[in-house]
């Protein structure tokens, strides 16, 4: 268990200067994420062009892992298709939870989160933003279906 593996430079940097921080107004969809265990709260707003997330923002309060993960996630998914985002989420999820999972090369910066898997109680901090984004995407899909 090495703290340096958890708090890598890129994570500390994104925590200190979160990218795509704020709220889009107007937005096509949004969702709140809450981790009652540690009190982390995130809000994700996004705009869609068809099935592509053309822009998104997050804000909220959280620990370094949750803020950095959200910041890196926003950078990584901006401009991507729903299906690509879903694929990326699964890859990140594996990296966070499976000790034997190789870190896929296309993860880019998100690979820095692989240190989290040695700290099981922190996995939820890193995955909160992804669940929140998912909720926002599902909500937009549900809206599309009902229209």
């Amino acid at each position: 268990m090495d703290l340096k593996d958890l708090y890598r430079e890129v994570i500390l940097d994104h925590n200190k200067s979160p990218r795509l921080f704020g709220r889009l107004d107007p937005a096509d969809s949004s969702a709140d994420g809450h981790n009652p265990l540690c009190g982390d709260r995130l809000h994700v707003t996004l705009r869609l062009e068809g099935d592509r997330v053309s822009d998104l923002r997050f804000d909220g309060k959280g620990c370094a892992i949750s803020v950095a993960s959200a910041s890196m996630m926003c950078e990584a998914v901006k401009g991507k298709h729903r299906d690509e985002i879903s694929h990326l989420f699964h890859e990140v999820h594996d990296v966070l939870t499976r000790h034997d999972a190789p870190v896929p090369e296309d993860l880019g910066k998100l690979a820095a989160l692989s240190g989290v898997r040695d700290f099981p109680v922190r996995v939820k901090c890193a995955s909160l933003c992804w669940h929140t984004l998912n909720a926002a995407l599902e909500r937009s899909a549900a809206t599309v279906q009902t229209e």
């Binding site: 703290l3 958890l6 540690c38 009190g39 309060k61 620990c63 892992i65």
Partner: protein
């Protein structure tokens, strides 16, 4: 730096520390520094041995059989009840009800006492610093009865003043429920005066004593509250057992809360007659080994002396407050003049959850989060705090280890 060598002579913290086998273990290759006793304290060898001895030699169901083991188990279980009675100075063992813990004790009062009596518009008075266990049971009963919950405010230090209490009491106040010691802030409340004020308004008083009994003498004859709740696992006993001490006349008038074996005299499909106190409130086979462990924990506290434990923890609190105040960027949350050995704090630029992880890597166990007191976090406008808490086995060196680990956290987050 030893403030008062004489006090150290009187209280041998190193020897007390050795009574707790778990404290000698390592965590992540470093000596464990356990500063999370407010969440759950550790067990001394004597408690472990008492439970072990019961399991190996005496276990059978209680209040049932005529055989030897059942009689021994019953005697040990009822001896535990008597030890609890002595410990909090209750008048009779009929008032001492074993529960799963403080939470269940409060729920029992909410459902058996309050639910049958509260009318729409009646008021339940809580304080701003309550643990969720002393909020949610009242919200449930308020929903069931149409009663209203009112909250006595606290000030920026985490103090609930008697003036604030007085102005919150009204003609509709039926129940006052408050902690004796705040788990999140360490504030000690003047529960004796609060009880007197509440009684003058005709309200019934429940005190959540979970954070008080391990740290200070509790004398229910003096306190005179109607219900007092606490848990064994915060006072060096096992988990899963706690106590409700109630005023006998009230307990007599309350319907049973749960039905089952042990709480009945006779059962037919037409009518059941209930057992006498305290058994009326103890449906089903109780946590016998837990009660045995609780009795051993009381013996242990008595051996050390609760007043000496109190003095030791107060000395550590003063020392830790001084040392933590000097840590750059650290703010102590909860600065009441009368506090128990609990220090909640935040550090600029480092989220409490990150602090918890970094301190853990150094072997230092603290609590981080909302401490089951989310309204307290909202009041101080923080999502969470880090909390160090002391027990009879805490040492000065634990505080130094905490301060060193905090320096490490600042290094990581430069």
């Amino acid at each position: 730096m030893s403030a008062n060598p004489r006090a150290v002579d009187r209280y041998d913290a190193a020897s007390v520390w050795r009574d707790f086998p778990i404290l000698a273990r390592e965590v992540h290759g470093r000596p464990l520094v356990f500063l999370d006793s407010a969440a759950s304290s550790q067990r001394p060898q004597s408690v472990i041995d008492a439970v072990d001895n019961y399991e190996k030699l005496h276990h059978a169901n209680v209040h049932r059989g005529v055989h030897q083991l059942s009689q021994e188990a019953t005697a040990m279980f009822e001896h535990a009840r008597e030890r609890v009675r002595e410990f909090v100075n209750a008048a009779s063992t009929r008032q001492v009800i074993f529960t799963r813990g403080t939470t269940e004790s409060i729920n029992l009062v909410a459902q058996s006492y309050a639910r049958t009596r509260l009318r729409p518009g009646d008021e339940i008075l809580l304080t701003a610093l309550e643990h969720h266990a002393n909020i949610v049971p009242w919200q449930l009963v308020a929903e069931q009865t149409g009663a209203v919950i009112k909250v006595v405010p606290m000030d920026r230090r985490g103090v609930v003043s008697l003036e604030a209490f007085t102005s919150s009491l009204g003609p509709r106040t039926r129940i006052v429920a408050c902690a004796q010691v705040s788990n999140a802030l360490g504030t000690v409340l003047p529960v004796r005066e609060i009880t007197r004020l509440a009684h003058a308004h005709g309200a019934v008083v429940l005190i959540d004593g979970a954070q008080a009994v391990p740290h200070q003498k509790v004398d229910l004859a003096k306190l005179d509250c109607d219900f007092y709740a606490f848990s064994a696992h915060k006072m060096y006993g096992p988990t899963g057992i706690g106590v409700l001490v109630g005023r006998e006349s009230l307990l007599e008038s309350m319907p049973p809360w749960q039905g089952g074996g042990d709480m009945i005299l006779t059962v037919s499909f037409e009518k059941t007659t209930y057992n006498a106190l305290p058994f009326k409130f103890e449906a089903g086979t109780p946590n016998i080994s837990g009660a045995v462990g609780l009795a051993a924990a009381i013996d242990y506290i008595d051996k050390l002396g609760i007043d000496r434990i109190h003095a030791h923890e107060q000395r550590l609190l003063t020392l830790a407050t001084e040392k933590l105040s000097r840590v750059p960027g650290l703010t102590i949350i909860g600065t009441a003049p009368d506090k128990a050995g609990v220090i909640s704090f935040i550090v600029d630029g480092v989220h409490p959850h990150d602090l918890g992880t970094i301190l853990d890597a150094e072997g230092v166990a603290i609590r981080t989060g909302h401490h089951c007191a989310m309204p307290v976090m909202d009041f101080f406008d923080v999502p969470a705090t880090a909390r160090a808490s002391f027990a009879c086995y805490s040492r000065e060196s634990d505080i130094d280890a905490l301060v060193d680990a905090l320096a490490r956290a600042r290094e990581v987050f430069n």
